[in-house]
């Protein structure tokens, strides 16, 4: 199933001489189970692409569909519901609420969506356990390491029936071991959890976890990798060294 579809999406900020084309006719689709990385220099439009895909901002032109539903036709409350139920966000600086425990942070979006507190908590704990954080459930964000905080943020982004994960430099503040752990979790959420993910990063090692890497420059998609062949291709005896 197609989880995200952008059709000729453009975003212009400012007017006249101050006009900035943050995105220029971007077309991108991501299916269930797929992980797409978006790479590009700063100012290339990576973050704008994510906020528009996540219905946090509206495109100047073009169409965005999440799970087949066009965002353009939705009311504000429909969009809010879509963000609570279907889309999970992960940011570089975690964005956890400091006054809530890990478990409360993760179950919050479900409670906001009207799920009874006990059910929301059970789903939150299940998501934390899945990510190896069961023992940290009652800790507050400032009692967690950076890597643990980001894993809690990922638990919050995949909890419940979320299907689309949007991550903006999710491992930007982490060391390489924790960064890899975060990418592995996003990858697993796609492969085993049936989610679709778009991960913005400038780090090639992290981008290489994705099925497809899309290159963005000056608001345009300029190139993308072909779908990667299996690992066998590198392990064939007699390969030139």
């Amino acid at each position: 199933m197609r989880m995200l579809e952008l059709q000729r999406v453009s975003k212009v900020y400012g007017l006249g001489a101050a006009e900035v084309h943050a995105l220029d006719r971007v077309t991108l689709s991501v299916d269930e189970g797929a992980m797409v990385a978006v790479m590009g220099p700063s100012g290339s439009g990576k973050s704008t692409l994510l906020t528009i895909a996540g219905s946090l901002e509206e495109p100047t032109e073009g169409e965005v569909r999440v799970r087949g539903a066009a965002l353009a036709g939705m009311s504000r409350s429909d969009k809010a519901r879509l963000r609570r139920r279907t889309i999970g966000y992960v940011f570089q600086d975690y964005n956890l609420l400091p006054g809530l425990t890990a478990a409360e942070n993760v179950s919050l979006p479900l409670e906001l969506d009207g799920l009874p507190a006990r059910k929301a908590r059970a789903a939150g704990l299940a998501a934390l356990e899945e990510l190896g954080l069961a023992e940290r459930a009652e800790r507050y964000p400032d009692e967690l390491s950076g890597g643990e905080r980001q894993r809690v943020a990922i638990a919050r982004a995949v909890v419940g029936e979320r299907r689309l994960l949007l991550a903006d430099e999710p491992s930007g503040a982490l060391d390489s071991g924790n960064a890899e752990a975060v990418m592995r979790l996003v990858h697993d959420a796609c492969k085993n959890g049936g989610m679709a993910a778009v991960v913005v990063t400038h780090d090639a090692q992290l981008a290489s976890w994705a099925d497809r890497v899309v290159f963005l420059r000056d608001g345009r998609i300029t190139d993308q990798t072909a779908s990667a062949p299996g690992p066998e291709s590198l392990l064939t005896p007699g390969r030139p060294q």
Partner: protein, 193 residues
Amino acid sequence: MSVRHALLALLSEGPKYGLQLREEFEARTGEVWPLNVGQVYTTLQRLERDGLVESEDTDEGPQKAFQITESGAAELAEWLRTPPDLSSPPRDELVMKVLVAIRLPGTDVHEVIQEHRRYLLQLMQEWTRIKESGAQGDLNLALAVDAELFRLDSVVRWLDAVDARVRRAAAEGNVQPAKAPLPKQRRHIGVRG
């Protein structure tokens, strides 16, 4: 990768046969560096000639066992601590191509850079698939794959830096004409073969 020293390292654990050495070498490098059996025997012969290993004279062929000598162990210890030659730049084909692309009339260097960047990312995706599909339980494979990923990553970062630097130079109107000769001091930089 020095096959010579890798074999000495394996033999420092005790006497081994040629075939066994090949299998262990491949297993420990996560099968990332395949080795043919002829290479193993040629290397063993040279090591024996240099007095770094010795074999039991009784058996010949695949059943011949080799063991490390004292000078072999000393050679191995010395090698581990000797830094590889990283002091002079390697003769890097990609660096040459980019330098040529900058000066070649009618060539968009950014397009050339992107071709290589995409290829490198695809290669990195393949290595990451290997890591994902089993390296977690296999330390040697994980380390060998990491080495490749870090190496390729540094090339991508170099390309990103070139891309940005050339754009900046163009924006400042500081693009060198195609006819300009390479600066002379380049010739003083030693080049590794």
